[in-house]
């Protein structure tokens, strides 16, 4: 995984207490991460809470994460974790089947025309799933839809959704390999 923005160096600096480096890390990644949280939570304040929690956690974990290579993956995972926890905590009241739209364009420092080989590999594996199951996986990942939401979306009973998710995961597991 390449790191053209030098996120790793910033995290290493932050791990020794460098707040300026931490602020730069935030500046580089916050638009992308906020988009991720907002798509799951669909509420500005909740998404901001998730982002704040993830960054505060990241600060505390910086020392133990400084040896990692792919900082962005770690950060994405932390933000999604916070956002998903928040989404599950408010249960069905947060169910939004609307398409996600960003009101205002924002400059994303991480934007790039180049897609990583890792993404290519993942997409080609997703492409081997049936269309319905592929969409379920993507809605679960991007929109944070629960099984109940997926069940409504697919108009299928929850146990069927359960089975589809498991099959999809099994196939992805095989396709993505060790």
């Amino acid at each position: 995984m390449t790191d053209p923005e030098g996120l790793k160096d910033l995290l290493v600096a932050a791990s020794s207490g460098d707040r300026a480096a931490f602020a730069r890390l935030y500046g580089l990644t916050a638009p992308r991460l906020h988009g991720i949280a907002l798509r799951i939570l669909r509420q500005e304040d909740l998404a901001a809470d998730a982002l704040r929690a993830a960054f505060v956690r990241l600060w505390h974990e910086a020392a133990s994460l400084a040896g990692e290579d792919d900082i962005l993956t770690l950060m994405v995972a932390r933000v999604r974790r916070e956002a998903l926890d928040a989404a599950r905590a408010r249960a069905e009241s947060g169910l939004s089947l609307e398409p996600f739209e960003v009101e205002e364009e924002v400059e994303d420092p991480l934007a790039s025309d180049v897609r990583s080989p890792e993404l290519g590999r993942l997409l080609s594996c997703l492409g081997q799933l049936s269309e319905e199951r592929r969409r379920m996986v993507l809605h679960a990942y991007y929109d944070g839809w629960s099984k109940e939401a997926l069940s409504i979306y697919c108009d299928a009973p929850p146990h069927a959704v359960n089975t589809w998710i498991w099959r999809s995961i099994a196939e992805l597991d095989v396709c993505l390999g060790p």
């Binding site: 207490g17 602020a23 935030y26 992308r32 906020h34 991720i36 798509r39 799951i40 998404a47 901001a48 704040r52 600060w59 792919d70 962005l72 993956t73 995972a77 926890d85 989404a87 599950r88 905590a89 249960a91 398409p99 960003v102 205002e104 924002v106 991480l110 934007a111 025309d113 897609r115 990583s116 993404l119 290519g120 993942l122 080609s124 997703l126 492409g127 081997q128 049936s130 269309e131 592929r134 969409r135 679960a140 990942y141 991007y142 944070g144 629960s146 979306y153 697919c154 108009d155 299928a156 146990h159 069927a160 089975t163 998710i165 498991w166 995961i169 099994a170 196939e171 597991d173 095989v174």
Partner: protein, 386 residues
């Protein structure tokens, strides 16, 4: 089902986000207790993470960075606050009680059979009713296809010869990011109505997914496997996987029904012969509180109480009873909180005795060692072979 496969897939579901709040909390406890499982979660996080490249970005609130910086401990107290923060994180988890974490378990139980340890011998019941293989019959939702322009082998009529999946050169690479975003955001509208009938009709009836290709060895941990860990993994998964499915099927079942006339002959339990066969898993129907999850393993005589809404009040303890035509009512175990309990009664009841039995939980005074339930039933449910 293979234990290691189940672990991998549970980790994947956690990352994907389809677990509910309780399951997420349980997975987190599991991650904290089992580094191997934590590594599986990391593996799936890494696998799915590239999807962020296609995410729409959004402007974070203006003052958020200042709020974050203000929330950080001051430089002088970094070391101290870090340990405090760890405490806080642990304390914030909903169920700090032991959910039988591998190392923390003081039980003096025999090691699980070696066949179970490598996960290969744990053969679950094979569901006889398999779902028809899914065929995406709808080609109409072409716009939805654009959600992500990935090659789709399931549409043989696809004209592009370069839609070959093994080729990494896929269309999405060449697209502008905003095009992808637009396309990705459109598909919801048209999909469900058209496809609903096809989906419902092919709905499989039983949750455990049919296994695909043979399990591959787990790549992450290089250290020798701790057999107890793997076994614990199986128990844990009962909550995560069985729970959802069973609750749906059990939730409307009458709690206490009068025993029907005994059948001519009890059905034989097919898996009895395998000493390393599946555990029983039960979700007890919630009465005044949230559910109780436990696993029963007649082979090791262990009852693992994985989830309990509250420890028993002072001076009281939970009594777990099994009731069936063949056995009458017998007590399996007594406990006050989550953990693993030895139960000789369990092995004498055996698999066959459990397979069609009603389980219930009563609160009894600790001083009382009764052979019959005296307290009110607070939880009940059926044990289902996992």
């Amino acid at each position: 089902m293979n234990a290691m496969e189940e672990l991998r897939r549970t980790a994947a579901e956690y990352v994907l986000g389809t677990l509910d709040a309780d399951q997420r909390a349980a997975v987190r406890e599991w991650m904290a207790a089992d580094p191997d499982f934590a590594a599986l979660v990391r593996l799936w996080e890494t696998r799915f993470a590239p999807l962020h490249e296609l995410s729409a970005s959004a402007r974070p609130p203006a003052g958020l960075l200042d709020e974050i910086l203000a929330a950080l401990p001051s430089a002088e107290t970094v070391a101290e606050s870090e340990s405090q923060a760890d405490d806080a994180i642990i304390a914030s988890q909903p169920e700090p009680g032991p959910v039988s974490p591998p190392e923390a378990e003081p039980v003096s139980t025999p090691e699980p059979p070696a066949e179970t340890a490598d996960g290969q011998g744990a053969s679950g019941p094979v569901p006889v009713v398999l779902a028809a293989e899914e065929k995406p019959e709808v080609v109409a939702a072409e716009a939805a296809e654009a959600e992500l322009e990935v090659p789709d082998q399931s549409r043989p009529e696809s004209p592009e010869p370069d839609a070959e999946v093994s080729v990494p050169e896929i269309p999405v690479m060449e697209e502008r990011p905003d095009t992808i975003e637009e396309a990705k955001d459109t598909p919801q509208a048209e999909a469900p109505a058209v496809e609903a009938p096809a989906l419902a009709s092919e709905a499989p009836l039983f949750p455990p997914a049919p296994r695909g290709p043979p399990p591959e060895p787990i790549p992450e941990p290089a250290e020798p496997r701790n057999p107890w860990r793997v076994l614990s993994g199986v128990l844990m998964l009962a909550i995560l996987l069985g729970g959802t499915a069973l609750v749906y099927r059990e939730i409307h079942r009458p709690i206490e029904k009068p025993a029907p006339p005994p059948p001519a002959a009890p059905p034989p339990a097919p898996e009895v012969k395998q000493s390393n066969g599946p555990d029983f898993f039960a979700v007890l129907h919630p009465q005044p509180m949230d559910g109780v999850a436990l696993t029963l393993d007649p082979d090791t005589s262990e009852v693992a109480v994985l989830q309990l809404p509250a420890a028993a009040p002072e001076g009281m303890r939970y009594n777990l009873w099994v009731t069936s035509e063949a056995l009458g009512t017998r007590r399996i175990a007594m406990f006050r909180e989550t953990g693993t309990i030895r139960s000789e009664e369990l092995s004498s009841i055996g698999r066959a005795g459990l397979s069609d039995a009603m389980l219930r939980l009563t609160l009894e005074p600790e001083a009382l060692d009764t052979s019959e339930p005296t307290g009110e039933t607070v939880f009940s449910g059926k044990a289902v072979p996992q």
